[in-house]
Symmetry: C2
Subunit: 105 residues, 2 copies
């Protein structure tokens, strides 16, 4: 019952005037990312108290899958479009799945 | 294609000397919580850079399901056991699913 997934939470403050464009670019990236073989989930969350506060929950099979994601055209297109729409640099935190085991994701 | 789920991230700093006991109590709570009808997922993550930094990702069908969770014996047992093991009060942030839609969780 291993615990070896890589789960990345990306915390983003979007400039409110760019929120619609940010979400459109993000939806394109999320849909393409879900088709990557090493991506188990790619979820986009909005803070109920602050619609400009967005969190990505990215679940990768392993570290190599996360590296491969950054090499894709859809990620790089998102990054180039989205970075100027952020109020501060985004913050990523890397986790491992403590529960459940690898098989239940 | 509605977006109405309630996703709660709970950020916890565990006192390192209590980490094993905290994780045991948390596993019991997570397993019981997954059997609640309104709980879609109840994941426990450990920060790869700091094993005493734990995040719960709780996905509820709606607000009523989150309220029902707090009424369960397993939650209250976890709360009473775990709160003294924390280095600071835990911080909960409430999100809605922006992507994907409700059906894909």
């Amino acid at each position: 019952m291993p615990h070896t997934l890589l789960i990345v939470h990306v915390d983003i403050a979007v400039l409110p005037e760019h929120l619609d464009a940010f979400l459109a670019a993000t939806q394109d990236n999320a849909e393409a990312s879900r088709d990557e073989p090493g991506v188990l989930r790619f979820d986009v969350l909005t803070d109920r108290a602050d619609p400009s506060h967005i969190v990505f929950v990215e679940i990768y099979r392993d570290d190599a899958a996360a590296a491969a994601h950054k090499d894709t055209a859809h990620y790089q297109r998102w990054r180039d479009a989205a970075e100027p729409m952020m109020a501060r640099p985004r913050q990523a935190t890397r986790y491992v799945n403590t529960s459940p085991d690898d098989g239940d994701w």
